[in-house]
Symmetry: C2
Subunit: 175 residues, 2 copies
DNA sequence: TATTGTTATACTCTATAACTATA
DNA sequence: TATAGTTATAGAGTATAACAATA
């Protein structure tokens, strides 16, 4: 080591970082997403697949424009997202009869079946991830997290991973 | 809507998702990372910059190979990560005298100064993110999260975002 | 021959801008 | 002319494989 360096005394101490809720959330969030990704891979699905499918299932018939709005992404992104689902036979784009510019989005029967299969996978995922906690603690944690999500203005059930909007002015790299 | 669809009764109900710790973690984790990214952008830094810099500062002189090991990424990825820091004048690669194949990694004085400036930013970030909670609740939350992180085998202070190892057998898309 | 770091290459994600069909 | 969706294009991130220097 050379003069000017301060090894054991660096400005971002490990201990402090460990206790920061913000870091723990980022760390555990990435971990949870990674585990989830692994779990649904056997079903041929990705996290974005599921998020988009769920939105469409919640109110079938909406347009791609409306979906883009809700997800917070540009329309061209929705095209790619839907192409993925389309290729898997999970979504159907129906030309609107009243305005032929619009596509009405509908899950296919296969999609509904797949979502049914997904449910137990989600439950296993949840159980494994919270294995360290008692049921009471798990509820407590869910409550605390929900309060933060609410205060932070996050849409219920909408993962912010979609609108990683690389605004032209900011230099962001990692979601 | 057409026969076979089940709009209000879809298989992934919003209410259930909302209470799942796993989803809340993924959602809040992505949100926390996004906010963090925005906050450090004015300093010209990205989240990976900070993570790597912190590791190097923790034990200066380590090799790129060792760093790759700790981050859980391939050596070629470390090259890119370090190139970013290098371009910003924050890291120095010194040819090892004992084994000229090695690069000993050292933060520059500018890096130490920047890490000093970073500290208050982290504190603001933490405070804003936990604004919904009392100090006691914040501690409680940190404790619950730390227990999960520990049980899940996460390295203390290491963000899993580095090793988004797209293993050839799995089909993962989003981190 | 084995190891460290680098370069070459390829693939995915995602945005912007140009384009087509429709209104 | 304005709008919905698509395609063309570009840039970042990240992996694998081939390579050069050193041991």
């Amino acid at each position: 080591m050379t003069a000017g360096e301060q090894a054991g005394d660096n400005p971002i101490p490990r201990q402090a970082l460990t206790r920061q809720v913000s870091f723990l959330l980022a760390q555990l969030g990435a971990h949870a997403t990674q585990r989830f990704t692994d779990r649904i891979a056997p079903l041929g699905l990705t996290p974005p697949d599921i998020g988009v499918l769920r939105m469409i299932a919640m109110s079938p018939g909406r347009s791609q424009r409306a979906l883009a709005e809700e997800l917070g992404v540009v329309p061209s992104r929705v095209v790619a997202l839907l192409d993925n689902l389309d290729r898997k036979g999970l979504v159907e784009r129906r030309r609107s009869a009243t305005d032929r510019r619009n596509h009405e989005l509908h899950p296919t029967p296969a999609a509904y079946q797949l979502m049914g299969e997904l449910w137990p996978v989600l439950q296993t995922h949840e159980a494994d991830l919270t294995a360290a906690l008692s049921p009471a603690e798990r509820d407590q944690l869910a409550s605390l997290l929900a309060r933060i999500a609410d205060q932070q203005g996050l849409d219920v059930g909408v993962h912010p991973g979609y609108q990683r909007a690389n605004s032209p002015t900011t230099d962001q790299t990692k979601g």
